[in-house]
Amino acid sequence: MAEMTVIEAVREALREEMERDPAVFTLGEDIGARGGVFLATEGLIEQFGAERVIDTPLAEASIGGVALGAAVNGMRPVAEIEFGDFIWPAVNQVIGEAARVRYGTQGRRSAPLVLRVPYGGGVRGGLFHSQSIEVAFAHQPGLKVIAPSTPYDAKGLLKSAVRDDDPVIFFEHKRTYRLVKGDVPNGDYTIPIGQADVKRAGSDMTVVSYGLVMHYCLEAAAALAEEGVDVEVVDLRTLRPLDTDTVLESVRKTSKAMVVHEDTKAIGIGGEIAAVIADEAFEDLDAPVKRVAGPEVPAMPFSPLLEAEFMPSAEKIATAMRELAAY
């Protein structure tokens, strides 16, 4: 066990997987000598050489397409998209192609690639370095989508992603990179894809979340605990396939539910979770399922007060929890 940050956990997972399997390599912009703009790949080119740590041209469509081709041809590429905001040129290869390779060839080919995507705000990134872009991917059958919130989950899930035989989009929240620390086992372990995790047990309401704001949910839950409200916090960890079993089990116990995410609200992850709860736990619910999410503006603005206005904070979440508790 060692205490480390999310970025360290990502780097360690990547390094160990590259040591374990010569088919694993990584490609992306500035991941070589620069070590990646967030230093996720720091030291890898020194250890594995420029053949397995490939600095690409500034061209996301080819990052996606080349990774896909290499994956189909027996390799295990881990591609880094520098910022989630810049992933759109690659989606033709990822949502369009990779997601359909196995189904469209009846299993004659598969696409075991990982796309590592730093995403999210609260980093003074403005409209184009803060976006939550998970919905377009999480909506697409054929992809697996992961969004860990802790160093422990990040390492274990990234290893599972690398070993998975299907295309995996691995979202890393930029604000958690250095902010969130936690104990991480030395050496090898994996966390199964598709399993949510109860990060705090509680009996009065269920709060479902993922990524950075999951930590804000824990903060808010601690505040509510002092007020006598016992909140259970479920960290989805995987956005496709969704672990609705864990969510429903919790809601059946607590009878109240809320979903919290940083991404804008309409037609998103929160709607799906709320819809599933409202359908399958209909008889158990004592209150409507509430959502706390980013506001319906195109993205998170740059200036500090504007950024704060966008971001779901522990305070905003606590307020919503209090309202739900009082329902």
Partner: protein
């Protein structure tokens, strides 16, 4: 060489603008038997193609993109490659390529009729889309989305290079696909890493209805090679031997570690874009006039007859064999059932993996 045929494009562009391949060894010279075999494949392709088109017109096949006019280019290219060694990232107009690689008329017809047992996708996809079992031949066409195969082929070649395998990956595409951003990115990436790729452009001068002059401000797609510092070779795609030689030289370059080549085979699309298209809406009658006179199949026949490799009897044998094969395949394909949805949820994800619903 069918040297009496001239390329309709500017012959000046038939230069090798940068990173000249002139010193590369060409492939071995073809003899009459080789050409005869190529002729056989072209004839079979034409007969099959005509049959499928006809079946579409009768409402028996859903949609067809014809290879008529592209046969010489396709058969010439495969002749220069090794079906067991190399990898083929095709697009939808590769009927002759498929036959030349050993896929049978029956298998292809199962695709056009969307029948069970179709070998690329189990009829989940359009005809010619999906992938052939890798052990048999590495033919891939994941999607109908134009140009996506180019960066994919580059990644495939990268993997081969990383493992030290000596193989050539061929990315097939049309003139229309050359406008896509992904084509630019693919060629740039392959050039930087000197990857064993052949970018094989079948330029039939139309992207559905859009003529070349509205697709680009240059005469020849091969010119683009300059932008990547790789050789660009324009070749008459009605001349199977010229295509064989150009692709052979490109394959040698690739295998020698000298990187990618852009080969442009100038061809003609004898029929509308697909069976859904009506080319009288946009294609001037003059455009097609005279073009069929250059049809590479009778031209090859003439050449083989001139050299004595082909006489009436053999020609008759080849043509009726093709008819017979296609007739039998048609019957078998029509009798085959449509796939039932019992495996509908299979292969969304790997069997047993999270999300698998099968």
């Amino acid at each position: 060489m069918l040297s009496e045929q001239t390329s309709p494009n500017n012959p000046e562009t038939n230069s090798r603008p940068a990173g000249s391949a002139e010193n590369d060894a060409g492939p071995p010279t073809l003899n009459d038997n080789d050409l005869l075999e190529m002729y056989r494949t072209m004839v079979l392709s034409r007969v099959l193609d005509q049959r499928i088109w006809q079946m579409n017109r009768q409402g028996r096949a859903a949609i067809v993109a014809s290879a008529q006019g592209h046969e010489a280019a396709q058969v010439g290219a495969i002749r220069a490659l090794d079906p067991e060694r190399d990898r083929f990232y095709i697009y939808y107009r590769e009927l002759t390529t498929m036959l030349a690689l050993g896929i049978t008329p029956l298998e292809l017809l199962l695709g056009f009729l969307a029948k069970d047992g179709e070998p690329l996708s189990g009829a989940r996809q359009f005809p010619l889309h999906g992938a052939i079992d890798r052990q048999r031949c590495d033919i891939v066409s994941f999607s109908n989305v134009v140009a996506t195969q180019l960066p994919q082929a580059v990644g495939v070649a990268l993997a081969d290079k990383m493992r030290g395998e000596k193989r050539v990956t061929v990315a097939y595409f049309g003139d229309g696909a050359s406008s896509m951003g992904e084509t630019h990115e693919a060629m740039n990436f392959a050039a930087i890493h000197r990857l064993p790729v052949i970018f094989f452009c079948e330029n039939n001068k139309y992207a559905i209805s859009v003529p070349l002059a509205q697709q680009m401000n240059i005469e020849s797609v091969a010119t683009r090679a300059t932008a990547y510092g790789i050789p660009g070779i324009e070749v008459n795609g009605f001349d199977p031997v010229a295509v064989y030689e150009a692709v052979g030289a490109a394959a040698n370059r690739a295998l020698a570690g000298d990187g990618p080549t852009l080969v442009e085979a100038v061809v003609e699309r004898f029929l509308p874009h697909t069976s859904d298209d009506d080319d009288t809406r946009y294609r001037p009658a003059e455009d097609l006039e005279g073009i069929r006179d250059l049809d590479p199949i009778p031209a090859t026949e003439k050449l083989l007859r001139a050299s004595g490799a082909l006489d009436d009897a053999l020609d008759q044998e080849i043509k009726s064999a093709a008819q017979k094969i296609v007739n039998q395949a048609t019957e078998d394909a029509e009798n085959a059932p449509f796939p039932e949805p019992h495996d509908f949820y299979d292969q969304v994800y790997a069997p047993g993996s999270p999300g698998d619903q099968s």
